[in-house]
Subunit: 441 residues, 2 copies
């Protein structure tokens, strides 16, 4: 049996779901992977995997070649502890990158390498969230990446949420001020472009956010996992506008987390940087002393954060990211032209979903249509995310239900990174059949 007809056998799916003890409305990515693998194996079906938010294009060879070079030439590298605050080269390259692509001035000392952006987000929350005795909450602009909330739990902090669907522009500012004025919020965390909706915060929104962060001494944690990837604008020319909007233009209370995973497809070597505002770095908060043996924000980040968690970042990946930043800053390497393929895929995939009875769940970016990028979100009538996922699974497709991302709106996240356009004929075929199936149900 080399090929099976859709829909797949519902009883088999039912049994697998029961065996795995999962709820499709809440299922996480790892559990879903196991379930889909099981289903694909049992029925010998090739799935269209829209569930993983992982790089779908190979890394440029510049990164590994730089690692190979330093591992070959620098005989002392393996036996030498990395500086806790990062190798000088990457610190310098990051400051140049931030100037060239955000037009923000920071010193190398403000740029701190971490073991992937996850590490930066973890430490950022740990320090920002514990500056005052009563600030015990991280506020999320949702929907968002569920693991950030797992970090909040790990740290024993609480999380709160504002759903961007109902709150954009001045509404966002109003809601935000209401939350910040309670004095309980230590940090506001968002990504832009956003996982899972690909919403992008506007410059005027970041301005309002920045002012409120300053007013209430709250820290903005700007997760730039998809740096420059709002493809409606060309953010790819160094030292020339347009620059990707950032809250750093409007407050000194910021940490920007720049990940190499998606922009450089460098997820495998876990390397990222956190840019801590120069003024924030120097600020002192007496409550930090209890956790990090220092009152200083910047010192707490490095000696109270990096040191006790990993005692620094592996050295050769730091050189890889240095090389990538350096080449990008010089205009010798246009990383955006490589990742733009995600936007092209999203554009075409959306057309196919929309012409087969699906709608976009998060469809607008304020007054404009949502941009095309790594992710988009779909819905169908009154179906829950779990119901929608269930029906997709029956037709050999998978995505992530929206509930765990912090929204009450029902739907599924589609990530285009692992489905190249050669497979879009198959996608169209399956969606057509699914559409018919759902119509006659």
């Amino acid at each position: 049996m080399n090929k099976s007809k859709f829909p797949l056998d519902e009883n088999i799916l039912k049994n697998i779901i029961e065996n795995h003890e999962v709820d499709l409305n809440k299922i996480g990515i790892r559990e879903l992977k196991r379930l889909v693998d099981d289903l694909a194996d049992q029925l010998n079906i090739d799935f269209l995997h829209f569930e993983f938010g992982v790089p779908g294009i190979p890394a440029d060879r510049m990164g590994p070649e730089e690692e190979i070079r330093v591992l070959t030439e620098d005989k002392k590298l393996p036996s030498t502890y990395p500086p806790f605050d990062g190798i000088p080269r990457l610190k310098k390259a990051t400051a140049c990158f931030v100037k060239a692509f955000l037009n923000i001035d920071v010193e190398p000392e403000n740029c701190i390498p971490t073991v992937g952006a996850m590490h930066g987000g973890f430490i950022a929350q740990a320090i920002a969230g514990r500056r005052f005795k009563k600030t015990n909450t991280i506020l999320y602009l949702d929907p968002g990446f569920p693991v950030n909330k797992l970090q909040t739990k790990f740290l024993g902090l609480k999380n709160d949420s504002i759903d961007l669907y109902n709150h954009r522009g001045i509404q966002l500012a109003k809601k935000l001020e209401k939350k910040l004025s309670t004095g309980k919020i230590g940090a506001v965390l968002w990504s832009s472009p956003n996982n899972p909706t690909w919403l992008c915060l506007k410059d005027e929104e970041l301005k309002m956010i920045g002012k409120l962060l300053t007013k209430y001494d709250v820290i903005g944690i700007e997760d730039s996992a998809y740096f420059g990837m709002d493809f409606r604008f060309d953010y790819g020319v160094p030292n020339q506008p347009p620059f990707q909007p950032t809250v750093a233009n409007y407050t000194d209370n910021y940490i920007i987390i720049i990940s190499s995973s998606k922009m450089f497809s460098y997820a495998g070597q876990r390397i990222a940087v956190s840019v801590v505002s120069p003024k924030l770095s120097k600020k002192k908060y007496s409550n930090l002393k209890k956790y990090y043996d220092t009152k200083s924000f910047g010192h707490a980040f490095v000696h109270g954060g990096i040191y006790p968690t990993t005692a620094g970042v592996p050295q050769s990946p730091q050189h890889a990211l240095s090389a990538l930043f350096e080449a990008t800053c010089k205009g010798e390497y246009d990383y955006l032209s490589r990742v733009r393929t995600y936007g092209d895929r999203a554009n075409k995939a959306k057309e196919i979903f929309l012409s087969n009875g699906f709608e976009l769940l998060y469809d607008k970016d304020m007054d404009e249509p949502i941009a095309d990028g790594f992710y988009f979100t779909i819905k169908r009538k009154v179906m829950t995310g779990g119901e929608l996922l269930h029906s997709m699974l029956l037709f050999g497709m998978s995505g992530i239900p929206m509930r765990p991302t912090g929204t009450k709106r029902e739907g599924v996240r589609i990530c285009v990174s692992l489905v190249p356009q050669e497979q879009y004929g198959e996608l169209e075929k399956r969606l057509k059949e699914l559409d018919q199936f759902l119509k006659i149900r």
Copy 2:
């Protein structure tokens, strides 16, 4: 002025200490480094650096060559997220290593790579310390590595301490039972051989500890930073006794943390493994759910610990450590013969200190003389650690005062890793002068 006579100018040292705002009795390694650099620069003196606990011999090329190989051959490696629980190869190699050198049976799934041993210790404390509502304390067998206590603080846990100087053998067991019976201790953390004293726990002590850990459901975190480096025994032959003693022989409540930093001089790429007891991995503690979204100890370690802190460990260093473990297990690579030089240095350095009016602070390992290894500890009459350090600095030598390591006993830690025996003539000369200086004071 290319050479300055000892003692150095006391006023210059005094000024530098004042400028740096440090207390020599409590000074940490980073602050001491800055102070010594400053002093060395101002007076143009080459110091004998006994302060750093860093590898002093280069890494075998096997490690970097393996990283180079995978970065060259595996074109997908950079763009592929590592499995959160580690690459299968390293998990398997660790299980083999643990069998070959500890004679302990674990499965690959129980072996979890971390970003250096620091990362393993951090997660181990986080999970072990939060299993019950009232277990809020990590108990240290001191003196110990100060940064472990910084991890405890980061996690919002308390620390308690038993000083091994006064408590060995049955005294240790009695004191331990008194502490564990309070129900407040979540984990007991020790290293053996121990930083800073090079004490090594005896098998019968580990047996008593193991029984008490089981009796009170407390986790033993065995920090094997100096794996096999009690050179009084030859622990270096795979699958043959003697095996390094481990608490894993006597309880199922253990986590063994194996670092590559000292045994393989691989500190620069931050790679280690935690071995979580198979039975402990499967145990469920309902209080864990609050922090890690799961009750299961093993699942909490990986999905609640590794995932939200670094989302896995960089891939190429995992291959390096795999290769080193594999070669060691096959008997093709005798890492101990390389690091044994530390023992030789310690033996000779102790002689020189002892023949110049110094004594060993921790001199006995129960009834035997303390072993020779990476560190030893010295004292001199009633001088505090800070006073002793001060006088050493005047003669171009530096070490770490003992107070921050958790003991009330006064002295200085000497690490021999960065001072090769070619410099021992100079050491003898300076110590002789220092001895005279202190005698006539």
